[in-house]
Point group: C2
Chain length 310, copies 2
C-alpha cells in the first residue's frame, strides 16, 4: 500500500486578455486529497469536506483523471481517494482543476513520476473535460505547474511557464451568483470582429512582455479583455462601477476570473489587494449578494506533496 | 541652413501570428534621404534614385510626415528632401515605412529631438496612412526604433521594443507579383471564428515568450498565422510547397511579409538563411516570376543619422 497527500492550488483563468490561454496559480487556497494505492482494480472517492459533491463517482472529475493516468501507464490498481479540503465548486477559481491537478499529480508521484509535467497537465485536463465539456488547460496547467502559464496551443499541448515577477497579490471575490461555465460560454459570439481580435492579441503580447520585463504598468494596461468580458460582465451586478473603484484604490487591473462569477483584482502590494478586497466585499454586501473574499499571493508553486507514506 | 542624412531600415510586419501588431527591422537594407532645412515655408522632394516615384509631392509619404512634424512643434521652414536610396515600392518590406521613418527621424534630429521616440513613430504613421489609408505602426515602429516591436495598442500608441535574441537572419524574397495592400486587406474577412482568434493569440503569447527567453524553437512554433495567411497565400504561387522546402532546410518559420507579396524565412544561422534564400529564388525562377532575394540580419538598430552638417 502506498499513500500520498497532495495539495493543488486554486487558479485564475484568462487573466483578462488571455482568454483560454493564460492562467495563474494562487498561494495557499486549494484542494487537498489523499490517494491510497493497493492491489486490485477499482476506485473509491470519499468526501470528508462540508462541500457538497456528487455521490456518483462517474460525476467526480477525479474519476477520469485516475482512469486516464492508469491507462496511460498501462497499470491496474485499487485507488482510494479521500477529499480533505475542497474549493467550493462554481466559485470561478478553478475548483474542478484543483481536484483534477491534485489527482493527476498525486497519481504520478505514487508511480514514481513516469509522466512529464506537461503530460500530468494533459491527464488533469480529463477532469476539466468532465466538468465543462472541453479540454481546457488554463486552470489545470497552473494548478499543476504553478506560476503564470501560457498555453501556446493544444495540438499538441504546448505550455510555457512564466515566473511571477515580484510580489503579485490577487484580491478575489466569489459572489454567490450562479453562472455555469456552459451559460458563460454560450453567451459568447462564435465570430468576433477582426479588429477586436487584433486588440486582444496586442494585449496578450503586452501582458507576456510585461511579465518578462517586470513592467507592472504594462501588465496592468494589457489585462483588458475585449472579447468575453463585454458579454459576461452582465452576470455581475455593477461590474464597471466596481472596477472603477478598485482601480482608483491602486489595483493594476480587475477582471472576471475564468468564466465567472468570481472577480479578481491584480495588485503589486498586499495593502492594495487588501483595499481592493474590502471594496469588492462592500460592493456585493450593498447589493445583498453573499460573498467570500480572499486576498492571496500569486504563486510560483503548483501541485505538491504534503505527505508520503509507503 | 542645417542638413541631415538619414537611414531607415526595411522591416517585416506581422512576423506570422502578430498580424498588425508585430514588426521587425532588417539590417543594411533601407532608405537613405537627405533633409535640408532653411528659412522660409515650403517643401520640395527630389528623387535621385532609379526607383519610379510620383512627381506630385502630395502623393509622396514624406510630405504628410514633414508637415505633421512641423505642425506638431509649431514651426515653419523651407524643407528640401533628397531621396538617395529607396526600397522598391510594393516589395512588402516596408518601403513606405522606411521613407516615413527616415523623414520623421531626420526632422526630429534637425530640430534637436523635441519628440520622444514614440512620438516620432506617430509622425511616421502619417506616411503609412497616405500609403495605405490606415494608421499602422507595424512597419513604421521597427523602422524608427529597430529590433522587434510589439504594438500593444493604438489608443494611445503603446509600443514595446523586444531586443532580438542572438543572431536571427531573414531570407526575404520579393517575387514580382503585384498585390496592393488594399487588395490584400480586402480579401480578409471582417469577422473571424472565436476559436481561430484564440489560436492566434496563443501564438502571439508564445512568440513574445520565445523572444524573451531566447527559445528559438518556441519562436518558430509560434509564428503561425491562422488569420491572414490562409487568404493571402493564394496570391503567392506554390506557397505551401515552398514553405515545406524552406522548413526542411532548417528555417524556423516562413511567412508572408506584411500584406505580401514578399515572403520571408526566419533562421537562426546565416547559412540556413542562405539556403532558404536559394530555395525561394529557385521556386519563383521555376515559375518564371522575376524576383529579388535578400539575406539580412534582423537588426536592433532603427533609423539613424549617417551625416550631419550645420
Amino acid at each position: 500500500m502506498r499513500k500520498v497527500r497532495v495539495f493543488a492550488p486554486a487558479s485564475i483563468a484568462n487573466m483578462g486578455c488571455g482568454f483560454d490561454i493564460i492562467g495563474l496559480a494562487l498561494d495557499e487556497v486549494g484542494d487537498i486529497i489523499e490517494i491510497v494505492q493497493s492491489e486490485g482494480d477499482g476506485l473509491t472517492i470519499t468526501n470528508k469536506t462540508d462541500v457538497p459533491l456528487p455521490d456518483d463517482i462517474e460525476k467526480n472529475v477525479i474519476t477520469p483523471v485516475v482512469r486516464t493516468f492508469l491507462k496511460r501507464i498501462g497499470k491496474k490498481a485499487q485507488i482510494d481517494v479521500t477529499i480533505c479540503e475542497k474549493i467550493y465548486p462554481g466559485s470561478g477559481i478553478g475548483s474542478s482543476a484543483a481536484s483534477s491537478a491534485a489527482a493527476a499529480y498525486g497519481m504520478n508521484e505514487l508511480y514514481g513520476c513516469p509522466l512529464t509535467e506537461e503530460e500530468v497537465v494533459e491527464v488533469a485536463m480529463e477532469g476539466e473535460n468532465l466538468a465543462s465539456g472541453g479540454y481546457h488547460a488554463d486552470n489545470a496547467a497552473p494548478a499543476v505547474m504553478g506560476g503564470i502559464i501560457l498555453i501556446r496551443g493544444y495540438e499538441p499541448l504546448d505550455v510555457v511557464k512564466i515566473s511571477v515577477p515580484g510580489n503579485f497579490y490577487c484580491a478575489v471575490i466569489h459572489p454567490r451568483i450562479v453562472v455555469t461555465t456552459k451559460e458563460a460560454r454560450e453567451i459568447l459570439p462564435k465570430q468576433v470582429p477582426l479588429h477586436t481580435a487584433i486588440t486582444q492579441w496586442g494585449n496578450v503580447g503586452g501582458l507576456v512582455a510585461g511579465l518578462f520585463t517586470s513592467d507592472i504598468e504594462l501588465v496592468g494596461r494589457s489585462m483588458k479583455d475585449v472579447i468575453a468580458e463585454p458579454y459576461r460582465k452582465q452576470f455581475i451586478p455593477g461590474f464597471d462601477e466596481l472596477r472603477e473603484k478598485v482601480l482608483a484604490a491602486g489595483a493594476l487591473a480587475m477582471n472576471i476570473s475564468g468564466s465567472g462569477p468570481s472577480v479578481f483584482a491584480l495588485c503589486n502590494h498586499k495593502d492594495k489587494a487588501d483595499a481592493a478586497g474590502k471594496i469588492m466585499g462592500e460592493h456585493f454586501d450593498a447589493l445583498g449578494i453573499k460573498n467570500e473574499v480572499y486576498v492571496v499571493k500569486v504563486s510560483n508553486k503548483g501541485a505538491k506533496l504534503t505527505r508520503v507514506s509507503i
